[in-house]
């Protein structure tokens, strides 16, 4: 008994839903007529030739057709259609069909569908939908990159503008003096014993450090490096002479200072410090 009631309830539900569908699709009794926007079913339409299918929907197409079912009907096919129109007018249904096998459609009988307007004449229609121009992809990143470039360029210009007077000043000064030029007065003073006490040790350390670096003996033990410096034909002569001037209480006779300074003529003080 319960099963019977359930089946009955299910049938009622199905009939109810079907009736709703039909009430939506069928606006008029004539299956070849409908109103704008309302779908209509057209059943049992026999069309000759091989099986047909709906052509591709084009943009702004005012008539939309769909084949819901198709059956073999002798040499022809029997179709069930659903269609709707978006603009009022008359449409030939077969204009929207083509052969499924790609063959020529041939002379199909006209099936005129009338789409009627429900709205009164003169009804104002909405403006054509116009889309605003979409923003370019990655626009924000591009903006950031441009801002970065502008910032860096600005900074470089700023730095350049601040340095310009300094470089102008450098350009206006004379060429930097060589180490020989700078050492000469110091060595002359050392030779005569008039070099300031505080400068004596400093001068000797400077020359030792200079030659240690130049001859690449910094990796050796200091004692070995010292021996190597004094044995070097370029470094040794001035170092030995300086030892004589600074440490020997009775230094030897004057020497040719220009000859001693020859290895230092092409070296600037900046080269020494770098």
């Amino acid at each position: 008994m319960t099963r019977y009631i359930n089946r009955l309830f299910l049938m009622v539900c199905i009939l109810s839903s079907e009736s709703q569908i039909w009430s939506q699709e069928i606006y008029t009794d004539d299956p070849f007529e409908t109103t704008v926007g309302m779908s209509q079913t057209l059943s049992e339409i026999i069309l000759p030739g091989s099986e047909l299918e709906v052509t591709d929907i084009e943009d702004q197409q005012p008539f939309i057709l769909r084949i819901t079912k198709s059956f073999v009907h002798g040499d022809a096919f029997r179709y069930h259609f659903v269609y709707y129109g978006l603009e009022p007018g008359e449409y030939n249904l077969t204009d929207y069909l083509q052969r499924k096998d790609g063959s020529e459609r041939g002379d199909l009988p006209e099936q005129i569908i009338t789409v009627q307007a429900v709205l009164p004449p003169g009804q104002v229609t909405p403006h054509q939908l116009t889309l605003p121009q979409a923003p370019s992809i990655g626009g924000y990143r591009l903006l950031l990159a441009l801002a970065g470039v502008v910032w860096v360029v600005g900074l470089l210009l700023l730095i350049r503008s601040t340095r310009r007077p300094r470089s102008d000043q450098q350009a206006s000064t004379d060429r930097p003096r060589s180490l020989a030029d700078q050492l000469q007065p110091l060595l002359e003073a050392a030779a005569t014993g008039s070099l300031a006490e505080s400068q004596q040790a400093e001068l000797e350390r400077l020359l030792l450090a200079f030659w240690r670096k130049k001859l690449g003996v910094t990796g050796q033990s200091p004692a070995e490096a010292m021996t190597a410096l004094k044995a070097d034909p370029e470094a040794g002569e001035l170092l030995r002479q300086l030892e004589d001037w600074l440490h020997n209480p009775s230094p030897s006779a004057p020497v040719d200072l220009k000859r001693l300074l020859k290895p230092y003529t092409n070296v600037t003080a900046q080269n020494v410090s770098s």
Binding site: A201, E204, L206, P222, H247, A269
Partner: protein, 346 residues
């Protein structure tokens, strides 16, 4: 006992002093191959009355060197093998009750000598080390109630084995500071070692009565000295006339100060290190036939004078630094940044 102060200007360097130095070096060279630097350090210690600590593995002729030196100048020589059960009285001496006279008699220990070889000093207990180091510093010892001056010259040459540290008592920095020099002996070069082996094969045997024993390098030592103490004293006086310039003193002060401010060093050099640098540099200058010191002396002696007086901090040790590396870095840095302030090169 009379003492006379020698002023620097009182003494001059004569050729006989140089001959004396050469004679010693040649005599030592007859039994010891190579090790010229060690011989030089021994002479520096002897001429300046400083004490010398030799670090080296066994078999590098440390004892032979000291024996050869003592016999070259006719100096008294004693050797003490330091052990863990050694007592201070074993070194200094003690008062002994004479059974016949019933009076205490002073028995002077082996420290009463000119050249004392303290072999493996780090094996003795700290109280023995202290007794010796006090004697080194004050050059006199007290036995009972009596003070006894040690002979002049008095020089302690101690040895330490850098390996086998188990059962040893490491000398603290304060006591290491008493040694003017600490020299690290190195293995001989291949050619020197070949010469050592060649000489050893020619030693032969020494007959003793009916038997014989194989001769050693000690048997080759000529008992006849090549110089007397008077010439040693003359050399010691000559060192006082070696000129030390203000420039050199500045270099020494700079180096010593660097050890006190270096970020890797926990304990820097004491003023005694600076004094030792000057003294040893003067002696080295004399040995190299100069009457004035030069930076080469500083660079040559820096490791022997400074290394045993500095101690690295924990961070430096954790970074794998060594005292030798840090000192060499400091010596290389001297002058490297001098021109940075532009004081000299205006």
């Amino acid at each position: 006992m009379s003492s006379e102060q020698v002023e620097p200007s009182d003494a001059t360097i004569s050729d006989s002093t140089y001959e004396f130095i050469n004679a010693i070096r040649n005599r030592v060279g007859t039994v010891v191959v190579g090790q010229d630097v060690v011989v030089e350090r021994l002479l520096i210690a002897l001429f300046t009355s400083g004490h010398l600590l030799l670090q080296g593995v066994p078999g590098l002729a440390k004892t032979l060197l000291v024996s050869a030196l003592s016999k070259s100048i006719d100096l008294e020589f004693s050797r003490i093998q330091f052990t863990v059960d050694l007592l201070p009285s074993d070194i200094i001496g003690s008062e002994i009750l004479d059974q016949q006279t019933h009076e205490f008699r002073t028995h002077k220990g082996p420290i009463f000598t000119n050249l004392l070889l303290a072999d493996e000093i780090n094996r003795a207990a700290p109280k023995v080390q202290s007794a010796l180091l006090e004697a080194m510093q004050e050059r006199k010892v007290t036995i009972g109630n009596e003070n006894y001056s040690l002979p002049a010259p008095f020089l302690v040459i101690a040895t330490q084995n850098p390996v086998e540290q188990a059962g040893t008592f490491e000398l603290p920095e304060a006591q290491l500071d008493r040694f003017m020099l600490c020299h690290r002996l190195e293995y001989p070069t291949p050619s020197e070692e070949k010469e050592v082996l060649r000489r050893n094969t020619e030693l032969g045997v020494r007959r003793e009565g009916a038997g014989a024993v194989a001769r050693t390098e000690f048997d080759v030592l000529d008992e006849q000295s090549v110089a007397d103490r008077a010439e040693l004293v003359k050399a010691m006086e000559a060192i006082q006339s070696v000129h030390v310039s203000d420039t050199f003193t500045d270099h020494v002060v700079d180096l010593v100060n660097r050890t006190r401010t270096h970020p890797a060093i926990e304990l820097g050099c004491s003023p005694r290190a600076g004094i030792a640098l000057i003294k040893s540099a003067r002696a080295r200058a004399l040995i190299h036939k100069r009457h004035y010191v030069i930076p080469e002396d500083l660079y040559a002696l820096a490791e022997d004078v400074v290394l045993h007086r500095i101690r690295l901090n924990y961070e430096a040790l954790a970074d794998g630094l060594t005292t030798v590396g840090v000192l060499r870095q400091m010596l290389n840095e001297i002058g490297a940044e001098t021109n940075g302030d532009g004081e000299v090169l205006a």
